[in-house]
């Protein structure tokens, strides 16, 4: 991994100079490519990017996020999606096209405080993110435990091609829904598995930058396996 020049950077650090394409979390200033956040810089092919280690969740189209219903009007719900913007869920999305503001009461489907798995349908800088629940695996979450982690650590929790989360799911028999906004819902038949999965996820959150994290998680899950 050291070949593609991974480096720890803070804002203002010059990552490299030369003909590279600046991508995530970097800016081009003259011929210098400068990091704009705390993170790990990566250079491959002609692309430079920084994987950030802090910060709030910024909505991106097609992201799966877990939201909490904050309030509703007669036409839409507003969701807390752990971001600087509120998620906007139109009533048509839930009731279908024949939704009528007179006949249908929004709180009959989703009440304040309910957790919902949603996908960002549309977002640009001019308006709040529009979310949808009309897809497979989306919709109201009825059971499970909500764990809040830092949104910047979500990629680490998923791991390469989902390796980390698969490992946790396999070892604990839990079903884990990860929202890109850092909210994670775990549901599991057995209470032990639930606690173990929760602990593993919290451990990823705390030790996201540690190199041999996978081994440490494996060890923790394994030890617990032997005990029980």
């Amino acid at each position: 991994m050291m070949d593609n020049k991974r480096k720890y950077v803070i804002p203002g650090d010059v990552i490299t100079t030369g003909p590279f394409r600046p991508e995530q979390n970097v800016i081009l200033e003259g011929d210098k490519i400068i990091s704009t956040t705390i993170g790990i810089s990566e250079i491959y092919d002609d692309v430079v990017k920084v994987i950030t280690l802090t910060g709030k969740y910024i909505p991106k189209i097609d992201d799966l996020v877990i939201g909490k219903i904050n309030s509703h009007t007669s036409l839409s719900w507003e969701l807390d999606i752990n971001s600087c913007y509120v998620g906007f869920l139109p009533a048509q999305d839930v009731f279908g096209r024949d939704f009528s503001a007179h006949a249908d009461e929004l709180s009959s489907k989703l009440k304040t405080g309910d957790l919902v798995a949603t996908r960002i349908a549309n977002f640009d800088r001019t308006r709040d993110p529009l979310v949808t629940i009309s897809d497979r695996d989306l919709g109201k979450i009825d059971s499970g435990v909500l764990v809040k982690i830092s949104p910047s650590k979500v990629p680490r929790l998923i791991g390469k091609k989902g390796s980390m989360i698969q490992m946790i799911e396999m070892a604990t028999d839990a079903a884990v829904t990860i929202g890109q906004n850092g909210w994670v819902v775990i549901s599991c038949e057995s209470p032990e598995g639930l606690l173990k999965a929760k602990k593993a996820i919290e451990m990823v959150n705390e030790k996201a930058h540690v190199a041999n994290l996978t081994d440490q998680i494996k060890e923790m899950l394994q030890i617990k396996d032997n005990e029980s």
Binding site: P11, E29, I34, G55, I58, T126
Partner: protein
């Protein structure tokens, strides 16, 4: 000078200042990133006898709503001195001086912070001076910049700040409280080291053009020292001691 020790020597013949420092030596600086759990980002700085705590929130919803800007995020800074931060109790209500310093720090941070990425939001910076000993605005600006980075707000560069000044006809780095009161000039400088740009420059006192240039140079050099410490504070928090 108001009961002040008139015999105090600001600079002796060996070039040693009233608190034992050399002319180009800053006070002891300690910066720690993080520390406040409920804030999105925070920092604590000890700059000589200054002790300052900074908390950053955001980007978040703007209240009152009419303050929000559809093109960009806004930065709000509150600089506040605790009643116990100075020898005689300070009224906790924001004074004229505090309001001005809040504005000055806000404007010194604005070139660094990339708020245009978060339209219709606000980033709030709360600066609490726990103990003051001259040069709080520089220390506060330094800590605020670390706290913003800790909060993950995208920044073009860190802002490091320190004061230079003229004491006993000599240009010195990091003016302390005594030197500020009895000295001839005080020049706080905020500087972005990678971009090589100055974001804050104030001057209280009289300098010749040559002295002015020297003062800016000394200040910029000082900012680079401060920058290394900011870097260390963030590296320590995020990559453990001695990250590469």
């Amino acid at each position: 000078m108001g009961g002040r020790d008139a015999t105090m020597v600001l600079l002796d013949e060996n070039g040693i200042r009233c608190d034992g420092r050399k002319i180009d030596e800053p006070r002891r600086i300690m910066i720690r990133a993080g520390g406040l759990k409920n804030a999105d980002g925070s920092a604590y700085i000890e700059f000589g006898n200054n002790k300052i705590l900074v908390g950053v929130f955001g980007p978040r919803d703007v209240h009152p709503k009419h303050m929000s800007n559809t093109d960009t995020g806004i930065l709000r800074v509150r600089y506040h001195m605790e009643p116990f931060s100075v020898t005689e109790r300070k009224n906790p209500a924001p004074s004229r001086r505090e309001i001005e310093i809040s504005k000055v720090i806000k404007e010194a941070l604005e070139p660094a912070v990339m708020l245009e990425k978060f339209p219709r939001t606000a980033v709030d910076v709360f600066i609490e001076v726990l103990q003051a000993d001259g040069g709080t605005r520089c220390a506060a600006l330094t800590a605020a910049s670390v706290a913003l980075a800790d909060a993950g707000i995208p920044m073009r560069d860190m802002v490091a700040a320190i004061a230079a000044g003229k004491v006993a006809d000599t240009i010195v780095l990091d003016v302390n409280n005594e030197e500020d009161q009895a000295g001839q000039a005080d020049m706080p400088i905020g500087y972005m080291p990678s971009l090589e740009k100055i974001t804050l420059l104030q001057l209280d006192g009289v300098l010749t053009p040559e002295e002015y240039k020297k003062c800016v140079d000394v200040g910029v050099q000082g900012c680079k020292i401060v920058y290394e410490l900011q870097k260390k504070a963030l590296t320590d928090k995020y990559f453990g001691k001695g990250g590469d």
